[in-house]
Chain length 398, copies 4
């Protein structure tokens, strides 16, 4: 990927008119596990080092959808921490998230992305090193960072994807950081997806802006593990007319996500999405709670136990239990790349507003759409067909 050809003094002008367009992917939380895995993995798959396991957009249904190639993606983003991406990737390899040897193999791409990361903010504890800013100041700074990224890299445009740690649900009317970033995306004319439970565009103060922005957007809260399972098991019970009495769950996770979600306010934001999926697929919310425990010993790996008590014929009591042991970053990263590619293409095709067709990816989708994974997959494939060049919309062009 991205040999970074843009030369001075004409960063926005490609030297050769025949060069293929390149597309920016701007991560909010660009130094986190998901972003690092996405950057490293995109390079590795593009280079043929690994198959594209977990990337739905690499399956046959999307072959004719005009999606940007993996090698055409250029990464950058905002973050409030400093750890360089190559070092972050080494940590992930030590924890078993990335294969040993991969950080070295894609070192150049990690370095390139690292150069495109700009300081985020405001940090919750108010220790920002910059002078006090209004919300609008922050939005303008962030939007300028994105525009500058596009211009310097001579990109056809950029999409913004929030993959930062979950922030606590806001308790007052103030715009939380995730909403400042979302507003900046719109101001910079970028398509936007929120892969986290944070507020992002779901803030009343941003409703008008979103409606008038003229860009497509998607979200909220990526469906990667326990909720992915729930989105297929819930419909199963409903389709078989079995009566779910109680659905209880416990999540154990370490890493940054575990610590962030140990904050009850952040956990509440995440759990709301999990419970919504059950209520939507079952018709009503069953008994049962969801716990999220920070277990540092588990590192980047997550274990989710679900216990489902249901009634069968004549009131017979039955139980299903599931235990999911996965790596959230490895589950999220390919979906994030999917979303980036789909948004790039949707923007090029002139689509605007909430993309309900991407409900397949989210716990709390924007727009309308079914709640069972199977039907969401059908919707996604219809969307893939709609993105084709011959589907009646305009082509991808710079």
């Amino acid at each position: 990927m991205s040999a970074e050809p843009s030369s001075i003094p004409t960063p926005t002008a490609p030297t050769a008119s025949t060069s293929a367009p390149r597309h920016g992917v701007w991560f909010v939380g660009a130094r986190g596990s998901v972003a690092t895995t996405a950057v490293a993995g995109c390079a590795a798959v593009a280079a043929g080092l690994h198959p594209a396991t977990g990337m739905v957009t690499e399956t046959a249904d999307f072959a004719a959808s005009g999606l940007p190639s993996l090698s055409s993606l250029v990464f950058g983003g905002h973050d409030t921490v400093d750890c360089p991406l190559p070092k972050r990737a080494e940590h992930l390899a030590d924890g078993g998230v990335l294969p040993h040897g991969l950080p070295a193999a894609v070192h150049a791409e990690l370095v390139a992305a690292d150069r495109e990361i700009r300081p985020g903010g405001p940090v919750p504890d108010g220790t920002d090193t910059v002078p006090a800013r209004t919300d609008d100041d922050w939005i303008e700074v962030f939007a300028a960072d994105i525009r500058d990224f596009v211009r310097r890299n001579d990109l056809a445009g950029a999409v913004v994807v929030n993959v930062a740690s979950t922030e606590p649900a806001p308790t007052d009317g103030a715009l939380p950081p995730s909403s400042l970033y979302a507003a900046a995306a719109l101001r910079a004319g970028c398509a936007y997806a929120n892969f986290t439970p944070s507020t992002g565009l779901h803030h009343p103060a941003l409703a008008d802006l979103a409606a008038s922005s003229g860009v497509p957007y998607a979200g909220r809260d990526g469906k990667t593990g326990q909720t992915l399972l729930r989105s297929v098991l819930g419909p199963m019970f409903q389709q078989r007319a079995l009566a779910v009495r109680a659905w209880s769950g416990t999540n154990l996770l370490g890493g940054g996500d575990g610590a962030a979600l140990a904050d009850p306010a952040a956990a509440a934001a995440k759990n709301a999405g999990k419970e919504r999926v059950l209520a939507d697929t079952l018709g009503a919310a069953p008994q049962g709670e969801v716990h999220i425990d920070d277990v540092p010993a588990l590192g980047d790996w997550k274990t989710a136990w679900d216990h489902i008590a249901f009634d069968g014929f004549l009131g017979s009591r039955m139980i299903l239990q599931t235990i999911w042991q996965g790596c959230d970053s490895a589950l999220a990263a390919p979906l994030v790349l999917d979303l980036a590619r789909l948004l790039v293409r949707a923007r090029a095709k002139g689509l605007t507003g909430p993309l309900g067709e991407l409900g397949f990816y989210f716990k709390d989708p924007v727009g309308d759409g079914p709640s069972s994974l199977g039907e969401q997959y059908t919707e996604l494939r219809r969307f893939a067909a709609r993105l084709r060049d011959d589907a009646g919309d305009s082509e991808v062009r710079r």
Copy 2:
């Protein structure tokens, strides 16, 4: 059900010609757990003693499909054992399959069905008390039993459903008992469904007969527990482009089914269905085995453990495990009632041949159709619409 004041000398003649038609349900294996639960449960739900949990045909999508009411169903069947249905029902209540008190509450209906059970055969060990019969003799005797059942009870017709214990996969060309029963169903002009992994209509020698019979049929091998789960989890992995490496399973079950499946030949028949579902939904059969253990201590309850090793992005290794603790009879019985009602209606609408639209119910469906449960459910609802009076086919009539 079954007020059935059968009078002499015309027990099958209703006193009033305006009475609603009644429909026969003829079980192969009429004294087994599934049949007993179906008979008792049909009576209980018809009487309002229990909700219709687990019966898909009682959901809104089927309300206008012209299905026969539960109270219009009259039960009979073949079996090789003698235990009277009321006693069998008591055993099931002791084992927790039926609610305590239910056998007493529906005693009249159990007695009525018990009167309509005729001796089955041939028993595998050759201890039949009747003179040696040819296959055709057996078929004729069975068909005569069914015709007699219909005539004496003045039924609009009958459907035959195989719910007997799994028989060993046949090793030579001979017709196994399940196929003799299936042939008898066709000869008696009855729609047929095979809820077991036994051969039934899936025998080369019956192919012509099935094709020319003019009746609808469905099967094979009801999807009630582990395979039900597999039919939603397999598509989940496929839709998310995750690479399933190995899918291993162990089933523990007691009761008659456990003993029958301790026979490796019978287990082989059952496992073939389970593995087919995986291969169909994943595109290829993964590593892993399936075990079926007879554990008498578990009685009618079954535990199925599945262990799925899959690869995510960049080869990360992940695991999903599921533990299903259910009562097979309670899972099967409502589906068997669904099938009986759907076949009655399909026959009345003049449908013939394999009903691929009923793949929702089976591990090894007849005809063509999708293999994921969600798509099968969509097919089933389309079928429900097709069965409506205004859907262009003939109405249900006697």
Copy 3:
């Protein structure tokens, strides 16, 4: 035991002075699931209707220990609720805790015990129907109830066992109800055991009384499920020099216990015991939390999931998970009968003070003793030997 000369007019006085002595078992929480199961089960086992599964004192090691026979036990107690024991037993049978038919079979014994239940108090919400009482008033009333029970039934004495719902951990110095009952036991000269996490005798204000009471006592917090498992798994890891990194647990339970423990203060009391067992057997408390969820759909059945992350040689990461599905009342009741019998005998042998040898039964044992179940079992068997007639202490006599 207990001089307690039976007074005139002695309504329950045996006709022959040579009749075997009878022993009172006074339950705090006498209408709860555990007490009801203990009363019904004692009668059923004494009558030969069921084997003594779960009663350690019925094993060979205790045959010569001079324990009172099951048929010599007479039950009574305090409770704040009114539901008669026969009705309570029917509820337990409906929930699968007691076998169907058992409440009828032991109806006489349930009625007899029900007659010996006196009102408890004070109820937390202050709705007692009696005039305001001081702590000492309550203790005196309770002690008088117990003395009256012994006298009227012509008992050799009584032991008091707390099996009431867990009360919140007290936040001030006041005596909680469980401590009032405990003090009453001592004042009435009865041996005492606390099978719950409630305070009971573990209150500073009762320390002197306990020391001078001259009766044996045991507790606290019966070890029936998840903690029972932990008390054998913790030592396993320690003995094999494996490094437990995190031990996380979730308990799902319905019934009264589930509701009581949904109160965080009550859950805190219970969890303290669970964590103590881990810290004691592992040498240090690992990472991980314990959740107790009220899931009414589960009724009297409990599911406990434990997830243990441990390191092996060279830091290899390994996982053990356990899923325990049990009925707490059925697990607790035989142990409660064990304790009652052991305390009766210990009192007769003149033992006084904390019985550390009964640590086998408790999460938070009194006195000193090992924390692994195996060593506790060894202690218990030593105790059984000590209770023998020829072990140097006085015999059981009236």
Copy 4:
């Protein structure tokens, strides 16, 4: 460890009489996962690179037992395969069994051990490249290899530990390879331990030899995962007087062990040990089977699921399930090092014959001893005390 200082031309004579004695550890199966992990891990722990997690002999109870230090152990052995140990170690690191970087860190020790590996035999398919040998020929060749190892390295002696893949249970009277190696150990005057389910010394033809050999020996079949759990859970049920009805298990494992155990004859040998532990601790063998599946996708990691159906008070049905996810090599290697050290010391103390005190380590221990892990641990600690210098036996000396 083992920089192999012994100089030419007098390899058997230490140059300095004050040097500490060194002790040989001769592995049957010296290129397998367990042996490789033991060699690499011994070096790593001796060098302070890792804590001694999983090594019981490094706990305080053994500090005064006069065990040889880890750095005094010199490794060699027999194997029928050629893969060099450093390469084997790299494979194990790729599979997550060894930490990345460890093979490089202990490269010298791996090379040294690799030089001391001699060809094993006879290979089952008869493709040995050497001329036909009688059993006695094989034994003599193997014994000579061991003697040569001791002499060239100037060792105080050697112990032989079988860690080879499980061989099929012999069906005739012939000596299987494991027994040839065991006989060779005795002939060379070495203490012997069999960590596998293979026959080893448990062959009638070796009984006299074992009795007269004058060396201590131990075995059979290391208790590392599912059976380790069973040896603590079985006693728990027995101590609590709970009635185990059925104990079922499934093991999934890849690697060489999975393939070897896919052979039903080999699996039968292994399962015999597992079932013996249950029968011994429970008093009778419960219902239930044990499966061992070869699942190559799992590599060196093993998953064991156990399902235990037990009855509580009044026949209440309860379930415990356990899921163990471990790495067999990492579990076995520290125990193998323990055994080597204990045998070295036992030999030096003049102990001979079966060491029943080492039952802690084995599914099928030699000699007499308890079957619960807790009691076995007590025995082991007593043995540790017996090994002390002041315990009345002779000291370790060359």
